[in-house]
Subunit: 110 residues, 2 copies
């Protein structure tokens, strides 16, 4: 059976999902924001492999897509924190599935 | 609460999962293989945005990580097909979560 033969990637729900959280970093950023890593510097510390530019870009794209919200606190210097939007929270089952798989697989390797 | 403060990315299960299927294409490739798109040309057709080089690389990495298997059929010319390994199948819940989210989100946009 060749269901895939006439598969339309534009109607592919996995592609649709990856259009929003594809790439190496976005699910990790969402996962960390959920855990309370709400500031740029904390995210950077938690993901040592990511460059400042790359993290900036990931946060910008997540914000543009409405998955996260940036909150600016009127302090001196102004404090900026990132939060997962209501829409972004709908992705938690995806992040959970990744996390569950990761936990199981890490145990197997250890 | 700042759970994230001392978060170790090396022990992050989401990072662990993305080490294997991070990127724009791998989950889609697994999804398509599962649907019966078992040949290079079929995958290429189903993902028009992917270059030949990129698809080759994704398949090679998936194979190296043991998530897919390449089967060569002794025909002339030899036929090559890709299949999801038993280990790769453990990722189905992750792909399913992406697919479920994608389906719901696509309905919302439409």
């Amino acid at each position: 059976m060749r269901k895939g033969k006439n598969f339309n990637p534009n109607e592919c729900p996995v592609t649709h999902c990856l259009n929003l959280i594809g790439g190496k970093w976005k699910p990790v950023v969402i996962h960390l924001l959920r855990k309370g890593c709400n500031r740029f510097s904390m995210l950077q510390k938690a993901i040592p492999d990511i460059s400042k530019q790359m993290l900036t870009q990931q946060l910008r794209e997540l914000e543009e897509d409405g998955l996260i919200e940036r909150k600016i606190f009127a302090e001196i210097p102004p404090r900026v924190e990132y939060y997962i939007s209501e829409y972004g929270q709908t992705l938690f089952p995806v992040i959970d599935a990744m996390s569950d798989w990761g936990l199981k697989d890490m145990k197997k390797v250890a």
